[in-house]
Amino acid sequence: MSETKKALATFQVNGEPHEVAFAPHKTLLEVLREEMNLTGTKHGCELGECGTCTVQVDGVPILSCLSLAVDAVGKDVRTVEGLAQGSELTPLQHCMADLGAAQCGYCTPGVLMAADALLKHNPKPSRDDIKEALAGNLCRCTGYLKIFEAVELAAARMRGEKAEPSKESIHGS
């Protein structure tokens, strides 16, 4: 409520310090969106069911709607806004864009954060590894296939391979 005493803390988000006054019962999702205006992180249920609010805390993908903001103080928080280096998108972002893996784009930030974390510790994930890593991110538009293909393509390119999407995935069989 409005009388709640606010806490003051400094968060490390996307490599930058953010000093924020916030009600201590607020979730990390709420503080990111409402206090820092980092609206790239979405919400689809606020019950930990859909995965759209996925961010990375110390490199691990978590559901920011189920995490208290206070628990993220002193940790390294990364959101979708922190993926691109300057104006240059990451290979994963490029592949997602090129393959049409973002349709409405609402689940995309969460998917990117989960897949980015996967690629950090597994540079050559199998299709099953990708499915497992993204099992908590619901998408209603794509049927997931273009997302899987984008992650595979990005992984190959990040390994330095000159990979292109298969003809079947673009034009059909």
Binding site: S2, E46, D98, A102, C104, G105, A135, L145
Partner: protein
């Protein structure tokens, strides 16, 4: 019946838009290529703003207090405690918004806030705006609403039997909202000529869109004294009209609706909603920006999803499997309001004839009001339910007659360039090619009926189903003679082309098609074109993102605007270069002489020299669908510029003990006319396979219907994303996709729809595959594991191996449909009118 004239606009010498459907694939620079969508960068960078991402200074948060009872009169509302809560800035009840609204002119039966009666748990009663979101919730809890509860109505049987109390004081009678009864041709003769007749009963449970984004709206009554509403809506034009109606006397041109990027629609954001109207009114009341963002539970209450439909289908065929007559009945559980329900009812009967030739056809449809969240249009709108019934029934007939289910379909195909029994005009028709592709790809001939056993003891089966869908509704939602879509182009001396269009991108890529088409016509980079869409102050009207209409309709409007711009530039360049305009080529950002390509200029210079010659350059394009051939009452639902076709083979692996099954592989072929963008079309097909699979296997909008302390509790069983099961990444099968291109002359570059059609065959294909594997029929969707188990158990006990609604007289409600409208088919010499229809007076558009 094959027409003398191929399908097209026959009323004019020159088409309203140049379709270019006959362009050769190799001559197209941008069309068909996998170009990145215009909004892709913003989406992967987290820069795309959705409605709930918007904030404004002094913004208030609004919440709705919703009914906790399923059917009741409102006795009193006491908001005094809420009003006294610090931070509360505005309270609205039904008396503040007395004018009803609704998407269809024939069912203006909703209020933003219920004035006197609530009709389902979740119906909004009070709106409260406060400085903090939590304060608004707290204030809602302080409101005291007294209800006098009324008898609840839970389903179609109950609604048919309950004349009083009525949920609404309009409709046919009692709680029957709509009754339709259309007879095409001679049913008696059709069944008399049949050598085999089957009657089956099917049920398709309701399900919901479940967009990832919850609906949100921001409204602001701004410095000019005008209202702006940013909303996650698929239909800004219809919302604009609903606001102008409910906020009377505020003039329509003082209202601006911006359809902000939709985080998924699927039909769920295409009604004007109570929260949108209430937020607008609250902004006017408080003089401050007002935002409402629905919770996930509230999205379930908004619903407007798939109608639960009970169906009885009787079909007559020859020994060879040719359909001679079809008698189809559908009973729709509409929920508490009209919504699109009138159209939904007709759609359960409209497209049966577009896939397979049906010589004689009788359709009866009834829609009922019940105390549940209102149903409306979900991807496929009213057609997946009958498609499920018909495709399973055809499978049964093939089985009865010992025919190949693929063969019986190929033998019954509706002919291209023809009129159907119910006067729908078919143009291009690639279903035969679709069937052949999935049959060959899946190894249908060798693998069907073999009941291979997997390593873990499951039995494999293959199921086939087909479908068709419209490329946009041929008629607008409210009667008018205006274009369905408009595009304006501004050509700037910087070289920039800006396209303005009222269409709304819901993720399907409608913003991007403007660039692809205009870029192709003008020979410039599609991603260099600026696209401004879905803003009623800035963009010409487009009716909205529904009925798979945008690619065909805005596409044609964009093509016309681009052709006109090309004509202006060609004239300017021709004069400058001294070359005939007809010899100029627009390609690679240049305009040049076809005979001497070096002779030319950049696209930017072409604009500059033309602007110098003719003044500021701008063009418009618009599109109106071809006139419909169906002139009988109800003939307005079903006509479309073109129809898409799909065929699917689904492979299942079923545990014969438990009924648990998985779907490892789907083969889907879709006749898209022409793919404007290969990758984006693939995404639509794969997304349809996914959503269809969810409907087939698990998704259902189920209600608790039980008594508690002597009162009937009528609550949604599963208003959360965890309990409402939908397929995750783990359940998604391998999909082999075939893009069939049979260009249609009514589509831009021959394009037809792709966003909805490929969903349709999934549900019947799954059910047919289960039969192929374990020999039981589940005549109900979802075809969930426990239903397969129940059918297996029944079979083991020597009963019919089937799970589904009763096939007896009690299986469907008893309804007097009255006399049918009788329409002679084209081959009987019919002219599209009903010979026994009383004269109708045409209602003017309101």
């Amino acid at each position: 019946m094959v027409l003398d004239q191929p399908v097209g606009r026959v009323d004019e010498g020159k088409p309203a838009a140049p379709w270019r459907h006959d362009a050769k694939k190799e001559d197209l620079k941008h069309i068909g290529k996998p170009i990145r969508k215009v909004d892709a960068r913003g989406k992967v960078a987290g820069l795309t703003k959705f409605a709930d991402d918007l904030t404004m200074p002094r913004m208030l948060h609004m919440k709705l207090l919703r009914s906790t009872v399923a059917h009741a009169e409102i006795v009193s509302i006491d908001t005094s405690k809420a009003a006294a809560l610090p931070g509360v800035k505005g309270i609205l009840t039904g008396k503040d918004l007395p004018i009803p609204f609704g998407i269809l002119p024939v069912s203006q039966d909703e209020h933003a806030l219920c004035p006197d009666k609530v009709r389902f748990v979740g119906d909004p009663v009070v709106a409260i705006a406060a400085t903090e979101e939590e304060t608004a919730w707290e204030a809602c809890r302080l409101v005291d609403v007294q209800y006098r509860e009324l008898q609840t109505i839970g389903g179609v049987h109950e609604a048919a039997e309950t004349n009083e109390p009525r949920l609404h004081d309009y409709g046919v009678r009692g709680n029957i909202h709509r009754l339709e009864n259309l007879e095409f041709g001679d049913l008696q003769d059709g069944f008399a000529r049949a050598e085999h007749v089957r009657e089956d009963t099917f049920f398709f449970e309701g399900n919901t869109h479940l967009p990832m984004e919850q609906h949100a709206t921001l409204a602001h009554f701004d410095k000019d004294g005008k209202l702006t509403v940013w909303s996650s809506t698929q239909t800004p034009h219809y919302l604009h009209r609903a606001l102008a109606r409910t906020l009377h006397p505020l003039p329509a041109h003082h209202i601006r609706v911006v359809a902000i990027q939709n985080g998924g629609g699927f039909g769920g954001k295409s009604d004007p909603f109570n929260h949108e109207v209430a937020a607008a009114k609250m902004a006017m009341l408080t003089g401050r920006p007002v935002k409402i963002a629905l919770t996930r539970e509230e999205v379930f209450w908004c619903h407007r999803g798939r109608h639960p439909v009970l169906m009885r289908s009787k079909v007559g065929v020859t020994k060879g499997g040719r359909i001679t007559a079809l008698d189809f009945q559908s009973y729709l559980d509409g929920g508490a309001y009209g919504s699109y329900g009138t159209a939904s009812t007709f759609y359960t009967g409209a497209l049966q004839t577009v896939t397979y030739a049906v010589e004689n056809y009788h359709f009866r449809g009834a829609r009922f009001f019940t105390c549940k969240a209102p149903c409306g249009p979900k991807r496929g709108h009213g057609t997946p339910q009958p498609r499920f019934a018909l495709e399973v029934q055809l499978d049964k007939i093939a089985c009865d007659l010992g025919l190949d289910p693929a063969r019986i379909r190929l033998d019954n195909l509706a002919p291209r360039d023809s009129l159907t029994a119910n006067f729908l005009r078919i143009g291009s028709m690639g279903l035969g090619a679709c069937i052949e592709k999935v049959v060959a790809g899946s190894g249908w001939a060798e693998r069907r009926g073999k009941r291979e056993v997997t390593k873990d003891g499951r039995i494999r089966g293959l199921g086939l189903a087909c479908s068709s869908y419209l490329s946009g509704a041929g008629l607008p939602i409210y009667w008018n003679g205006l274009p369905h879509s408009g595009v304006q182009l501004k050509l700037d001396r910087s070289g920039l082309v800006t396209a303005f269009c009222g269409s709304t991108d819901i993720g399907q890529g409608s913003d991007s098609i403007l660039g692809w088409i205009i870029g192709e016509v003008l020979g410039i980079d599609p991603l260099g074109i600026k696209v401004v869409t879905s803003d009623t102050d800035l963009t010409p009207v487009d009716l909205g993102s529904y009925s798979s209409r945008v690619t065909v309709m805005t596409g044609n409007a964009a093509m016309q605007a681009a052709e006109r711009a090309r004509d202006i530039l060609a004239k300017g360049v021709a004069e400058k270069l001294g070359v005939p305009a007809g010899r100029l080529v627009f390609a690679d950002e240049r305009v040049f002489d076809a005979e001497d390509p070096k002779k030319g200029m950049t696209f930017q210079d072409a604009i500059i020299c033309s602007e110098a010659r003719f003044g500021t350059i701008g063009t418009v394009g618009s599109y109106t669908p071809p006139p419909t051939a169906a002139k009988f009452r109800g003939g307005g639902v079903g006509p479309s510029p073109s129809y898409s076709y799909s065929a699917a083979v689904v492979e299942v692996e079923v545990d014969p003990e438990t009924g648990i099954y998985r779907v490892p592989h789907v083969w889907m072929a879709h006749d898209i006319g022409r793919a404007l963008n290969a990758a984006v079309a693939m995404g639509q097909i794969e997304g349809s396979v996914y959503m269809g699979l969810g409907e087939a296997m698990m998704e259902e909008m189920a209600y608790r219907d039980r008594s508690h302390k002597g009162k009937r509790v009528f609550l949604h069983k599963i208003p959360s994303m965890l309990e409402y099961k939908s397929p995750s990444a783990l359940e998604m099968p391998k999909v082999t996709t075939y893009v069939i291109e049979d260009p249609d002359r009514n589509g831009p570059f021959g394009a037809k729809e792709v966003g909805q059609g490929p969903l349709l065959p999934m549900m019947p294909a799954v059910a047919n595959a289960i039969f192929d594997a374990v020999g039981v029929r589940v005549d109900e969707i979802p075809c969930s594991f426990e239903k397969v188990f129940a059918a297996l158990q029944a079979k083991k006990e020597g009963k019919e191996g089937r799970f589904g609604p009763s096939s007896g007289v009690d299986g469907v409600p008893v309804v007097d449909f009255g006399d049918s409208l009788k329409i002679k088919t084209p081959w009987q010499g019919g002219d599209g009118t009903a010979w026994n229809e009383p004269k109708r007076e045409k209602k003017a558009a309101k």
